[in-house]
């Protein structure tokens, strides 16, 4: 048994310790908002937060997440940063196919939690590991800046 804290809830799972966190979330816990894209931390679709830091859940063994706070897309609306990011994503109608957007939003929320006014370079550094085949990058950049602005002004 591995004890996990997922979106504020304590959960025990029976998966083997080397099972990637992604598959514990998706298959064991049925939380399918976190996406599978590449399996080897090359695309960022599976990004979740571990103690607030963005990690690629496809390449994080569940044992490494034990005892740490796991936050997924399903809980983004519960945090002020996550809420601001989602609102900006809606305002800019960012998603197209939408498959990468859980990872994009998790990446953006982690960036904004640390960097309240990210520069283009900050955005590049935080987001360049999260791929989008629909080409929504310009809208992602605009939405991140907008979310940062709304968090500063409280609007």
């Amino acid at each position: 048994m591995i004890s996990l804290s997922v979106n504020g809830k304590n959960i025990s799972v029976n998966d083997s310790p080397d099972t990637p966190l992604l598959w514990v979330l998706r298959d064991t816990l049925g939380m399918t908002g976190t996406k599978f894209g590449c399996g080897v931390a090359l695309c960022g679709a599976c990004t979740v937060h571990l103690d607030g830091a963005p990690v690629r859940s496809c390449s994080t063994p569940v044992s490494a997440a034990a005892g740490r706070k796991i936050t997924t897309i399903e809980a983004m609306a519960a945090s002020p940063v996550g809420k601001a990011v989602q609102a900006a994503w809606i305002k800019h109608d960012v998603p197209q196919c939408g498959y990468c957007q859980s990872g994009q939003i998790m990446g953006a929320a982690a960036l904004l939690a640390k960097t309240r006014k990210p520069s283009d370079t900050d955005i590049d550094a935080a987001m360049s590991g999260i791929l989008c085949r629909c080409g929504t990058y310009n809208q992602i950049r605009a939405a991140i800046k907008d979310a940062a602005q709304s968090m500063r002004t409280g609007s």
Binding site: D15, S16, T19, P20, W23, R26, D27, T28, G30, M31, T32, G33, T34, K35, F36, G37, C38, G39, V40, L42, C43, A45, T72, I73, E74, M76, A77, Q86, W89, I90, D93, V94, P95, Q96, C97, G98, Y99, C100, Q101, S102, I105, I123, D124, M127, S128, G129, I130, L131, C132, R133, C134, G135, T136, Y137, N138, Q139, I140, R141
Partner: protein, 711 residues
């Protein structure tokens, strides 16, 4: 893919009151009635549902893969219905012949056909519902329908009395369906032509949108497969003892496509698959090598083949003659969501949950696989995590059906990223050999092209090479080139290297426009003319081409100074009923690294349904095309695909993303397609900018930095 259909066959079939007291309008789509009757056990209708709670639901038979069709189709209905857009919801339809795409004659999403095919039928459905609501209100008020108008979900009498559509729904359902409806003039559009918000956005920002991979069924097993590493390879033997020893692995099954490990969850299935010890017979393609494919195609292009077009005499003497050979590689689609399908074969019916572009044909194909009638194949279309043509293919649904049938369980077949990358269905590789002739004044007087590639029409399984021997997709964009060349010849030589090929965003245009728009640029340079002016000079009979070219050039500041080291290239293309020009601003580092700073695009797609989605689709296609131009190639060595994941099949990242501007040409022409037409011009615009920057011609994709290095 013929775009011709007979509008007079369109008809409305029936209405019926919903149990909850609502109006439900069914209507056939053109071309659908024949098939609909053949499968009469299904209610053969597409639906517009108006609830007594004023909720209006449009049920969409087309697949949402990012292109915005789940917003565009409801907009068409809502416009003629005079609905309140804020009350509109969209639902994905199950597969049913009533939802046949009028352009294809089958239910499928692709070829940038959705708006083109449904522009009229969907508006007529909305207009018919509106007429029935008006008739119901007039009856209630004992008034003349001519004294009633509609606005934002209400019928309003001239006296000022009002009833909402919800209040009228039950009564409207009893009204006869009008034989004819009057559609609005575009000048009266209130929803169409405006940037309505996408209806699928909210679900796509909180993780609740359900893609194929998100399907979870009780008792479902996850399958991961081992497939022959060489196209056409066969299984010799398999030792599955190690796979079966892995906790969670339930079954190991052999099917024609390979060996599948079925387990509780992906991780056990993947580990089980990786533990299989398999001997493959690589077969005839064991030595398949990309260099040999290139050579085969180059020889084919040199030799020539079936005549696709021949005007004047391309052999006539010219003042200046130039020749060039261009090449484009096989490409994977690399959708963000790897291929997958979930299938449950039950005793007398099957259920399929898949992100598919071809739910209609799937009913027939999977019914055959499972041994049930097409009408017994329920296809639930999930959101597609990218389509780009790949999800038109039946490989993943067929194999999932076989696995469910044999195992007796609901099965979710998942391709790993590596499986997805190596699963073929590639954009065909192609070689084009051009010759161009200029007269003494630098005017282009002759043009000939010889194109060699495998036949996509034959590979599709639902088309055949035409009698003239010219594969339409292998030559599209070149055979129909808009330039006024008095002497013009286009040939097609078919060669089959043995790789399964498939439709890839913008299909033949994806490589052919790179070829021809680069070569026309070469002709301009040889003539000593500005590439934009040179093109305009050859487009005298093509106002829509000129329109987009002039607009893109103007908005990009063509001819005006740029920052040091930045150069422009331009290209124009017509595909899928729309015209697009793009200007790329590019710099090339001393190390040969290409940086695309900005792309300015212009599009003439006729009447626009949603200008914001139009712009985003052009931008999306630019990014997809740039990824291919800068990085994309699938290559073979010893019969094996050399690429496997995003490290060796890179795609554009946010830090490489150019600024993109898209400008729309105001037009009253019928709508053109929008998912694909933005793609073809980007590779040649970038390549032409590279020529402007370095004097070097890129004639083979992807662009190679080492060839652009400055000594």
């Amino acid at each position: 893919m013929s775009a011709i259909y007979n509008a007079s066959r369109r008809g409305f079939l029936k209405t019926s009151a919903l149990a909850g007291g609502g109006l439900l309008i069914g209507f056939t789509l053109p071309g659908a009635s024949r098939l609909a009757q053949a499968v009469s056990v299904f209610s053969p209708n597409a639906y517009l549902r108006i609830g007594s709670d004023n909720q209006i639901t449009v049920i969409c038979g087309l697949s949402e893969m990012g292109q915005g069709v789940h917003t565009a189709i409801p907009m068409l209905v809502a416009e003629e219905l005079d609905a309140d857009w804020s009350k509109i919801k969209v639902e994905q339809a199950e597969a049913d012949p009533a939802f046949n795409n009028p352009i294809f004659g089958m239910q499928a999403t692709g070829g940038s056909t959705s708006v083109r095919g449904h522009w009229e039928p969907m508006r007529k459905a909305g207009a018919a519902a509106r007429a029935m609501l008006v008739a119901a209100a007039a009856e209630r008020w004992n008034a003349d329908p001519a004294d009633c108008r509609t606005e934002k979900g209400m019928v309003v009498h001239k006296s000022g009395k009002k009833l909402s559509y919800g209040q009228l729904a039950a009564a409207a359902a009893k009204q006869p369906v009008p034989a004819q409806v009057q559609l609005k003039s575009p000048k009266a559009f209130r929803i169409l032509g405006r940037a309505a918000r996408r209806l699928d956005t909210p679900a796509k920002v909180n993780g609740s949108a359900k893609f194929g991979l998100d399907v979870r069924l009780p008792g479902m097993l996850t399958a991961v497969m081992a497939r022959p590493p060489v196209p056409g390879g066969k299984l010799v033997s398999v030792d599955d003892s190690k796979a079966k020893a892995i906790a969670g692995v339930k079954q190991v099954l052999q099917i024609p496509g390979g060996v599948a490990v079925l387990a509780e969850g992906y991780w056990a299935a993947k580990q089980g698959r990786d533990a299989l010890q398999i001997k493959w017979d690589d077969g005839a393609n064991a030595a398949l090598l990309s260099d040999a494919v290139s050579k085969m195609l180059a020889e084919g292009a040199a030799k020539g083949g079936a005549l696709g077009r021949n005007e004047g005499d391309v052999g006539a003497p010219v003042a200046k003659r130039l020749e060039a050979v261009y090449e484009a590689p096989f490409l994977a689609h690399a959708c963000m969501e790897p291929m997958n399908a979930t299938v449950w074969v039950k005793p007398d019916e099957i259920e399929v949950w898949a992100g598919t572009q071809s739910q209609g044909p799937s009913q027939g194909i999977l019914g055959e696989v499972a041994g049930v009638a097409p009408g017994k194949v329920k296809v639930h279309t999930m959101y597609l995590g990218g389509g780009f043509g790949r999800r038109f293919a039946p490989d993943f649904t067929v194999d999932a059906t076989l696995l469910s049938k044999i195992s007796g369980k609901p099965v979710q077949l998942v391709y790993t990223r590596e499986d997805d990358m190596k699963a073929y269905f590639y954009r065909p590789a192609s070689v084009a050999r051009f010759a161009g002739g200029l007269d003494a004044n630098g005017k282009a007087v002759s043009f000939s092209a010889s194109i060699c590639s495998p036949s996509l029409m034959e590979a599709s399984g639902f088309m055949k090479l035409p009698a003239d021997g010219v594969d339409e997709m292998a030559v599209e964009g070149i055979r129909d080139c808009p330039y006024d060349f008095p002497n013009l010849r286009v040939e097609y030589a078919r060669r089959e290297p043995g790789v399964q090929i498939w439709f890839w965003r913008s299909v033949g245009h994806s490589q052919n426009l790179f070829f021809i728009e680069s070569f026309v640029d070469e002709m301009a340079a040889a003539a000593g003319k500005d590439p934009c002016e040179f093109r305009l000079g050859l487009l005298g009979k093509q106002p829509r081409f000129r329109g987009v070219l002039e607009l893109a050039a103007k908005k990009a500041g063509w001819g005006k100074p740029l920052p040091a080291g930045v150069h422009r290239g331009i290209a124009v293309a017509h595909s899928f009923g729309s015209y697009v020009a793009e200007v790329a601003e590019v710099s090339v580092g001393r190390d040969g690294k290409v940086r695309v700073h900005r792309v300015v695009g212009s599009v003439d797609c006729g009447l626009t349904v949603n200008p914001e989605i139009v712009k985003r689709q052009i931008e999306s296609a630019i990014v997809y095309g740039l990824s291919a131009a800068l990085y994309g190639k699938i290559t073979f060595k010893d019969g094996r695909v050399e690429q496997s994941n995003f490290h060796d099949y890179p795609v554009l990242r946010i830090d490489e993303m150019p600024k993109v501007e898209v400008h729309i040409v105001a037009s009253t022409e019928p709508p053109g397609g929008i998912g694909e037409p933005g793609l073809p011009p980007v590779a040649p615009a970038v390549a032409n900018a590279i020529f402007a920057a370095t004097g070097k011609r890129v004639r083979k994709l992807p662009i190679k930095a080492e060839e652009l290095k400055q000594a």
